[in-house]
Symmetry: C2
DNA sequence: CTGTTATGCGTAGACCATACGCAGAACTAG
DNA sequence: CTAGTTCTGCGTATGGTCTACGCATAACAG
């Protein structure tokens, strides 16, 4: 049995506890003008508007009309704020899947939900992850993902591994797609001209003797026009789901 | 036909050009005491010893007995230095696979080679990637990867997609494994105690009604002891390769 | 009214990347 | 040999970052 109550173990940072609603306001002292949710919201607003590098403690404080150091009464460090920003940025989990769908349709929906979030908030990809998820909404997402595999005969450990596999894939694909977008913006190139420019550059650099296979790819026109990123996403996801399907078939046999 | 010579297009940063050996020293002026490879080696040494955050321009300069600003004669920015550090950090590509192996054995070897590099130099995972690979050794790795799929009937575009799929998986798996290691070191916990501590924390936080599936995972003891990370790596890789196998079978039919 | 406590925030320190410009070294042309 | 040119190394300075510390003040308990 898992014990749901256990006061031992390493203490949770105060700001994380408040995210779980575990912290009541102490009776004495001035009424706080700031709150953890208000700070996190402001930080998310800054990141949405100007990207993650713009999120500095002073910028967030300015957004709230407060002084920089006022924030440190509520969050222990910038890293803690980033953790909470991720939780807020992902937003509510996609919710339980239709009971009529099979595991494959459910996982596809789950993966696309994360895909959509990452497309809308690319800065989530730039937050350095410091550990396994411990914030409420992050665990909601995990719970929903696990339920996608309800009804299969997979052992619990493999369900978890599969979830990590998929979420890793989604993040990776979003990272690559986003790099092209950010790179073209930084270079002042039309988004559609980014991959062709890359292709030209590689073609100029490589020696055909040393890089025959790469040259074949270039000549096949693979990088000439941007593929629809959604097609690329679907391709990889279907490969992974095919692999999972093979596993489920084997485990059921 | 791809044109291997094309002087148009966006110019390559000077330091990248020198990595391709395209820059001769101008005849006039004092003999440089520093060189791009020397700087990159020093930076890699710092990262190996003290991690990526320790790599500051002043620290690298100190390592070389030079002044901070001297570095900027050779690299245009810190980002440029990071790009070259990645190229050097990956080291030479694993080389051509045995012609007797099938594509699956070849790709497995290729994936493990990257896995090993990332295990040895975890800081590579923390370098923010700013665009598609343009450095010599990075392209060597890509070339070797593409050759793993020689002999299959896959279109070139799908070969590339598969490579991105696998390298993304390897990076993701390494990131997760590394987070546990870094997290335990930061928290001063025994590495083997990290996941159990995480399990206790989650068990303390979650409501059994809201998180039934997650609770089931916890009760199954999934997080109680650290699995061998290599087993976890193999599991995910085999799922992906199974998916690719299904694709190859379909394309050959 | 007094004591306690928590809040907001000002100051200051220790970093960071890097723009700019100068002193001098090494070569070429005469 | 000399003068001119060009490139290297680096000192200075600017503006940014996070955050440790401590003080004044506001709000409540008794």
């Amino acid at each position: 049995m898992a014990e749901t109550k256990d006061d031992s173990g390493p203490a949770l940072p105060p700001a994380i506890e408040s995210a779980w609603g575990l912290r009541g306001r102490p009776p004495r002292g001035p009424r706080p003008g700031l709150s953890v949710p208000a700070i996190v919201d402001a930080a998310v607003r800054v990141a949405d508007a100007d990207g993650l590098p713009a999120v500095s403690m002073s910028r967030v404080a300015k957004e709230l009309g407060a002084a920089t150091m006022a924030l440190y009464r509520h969050v222990g460090s910038k890293d803690e704020l980033l953790t909470l920003m991720v939780d807020a940025g992902y937003g509510p989990s996609p919710g339980p899947a239709s009971p009529d769908d099979d595991w494959r349709a459910r996982l596809t929906r789950w993966a696309w939900a994360e895909h959509d979030v990452l497309r809308q908030r690319p800065w989530l990809l730039h937050v350095p992850i410091t550990g396994p998820p411990i914030t409420p909404q992050q665990l909601d997402w995990m719970e929903d993902g696990l339920r996608c595999l309800d009804g299969t005969t997979l052992p619990e450990g493999e369900k978890m591994s599969i979830l990590l596999l998929i979420t890793g894939y989604v993040r990776n694909e979003a990272t690559l797609t986003n790099q092209i977008a950010e790179g073209s913006r930084a270079a002042g190139v039309e988004p559609g001209e980014m991959m062709p420019a890359y292709r030209r550059m590689v073609g100029r650099l490589i020696d055909p003797v040393r890089f025959p296979a790469l040259l074949r790819v270039l000549n096949a026109g693979v990088l000439d026009q941007d593929d629809d990123p959604d097609d690329e996403f679907t391709f990889g996801l279907d490969r992974i789901l095919d692999g999972i399907e093979a596993l489920i078939a084997r485990r059921a046999a």
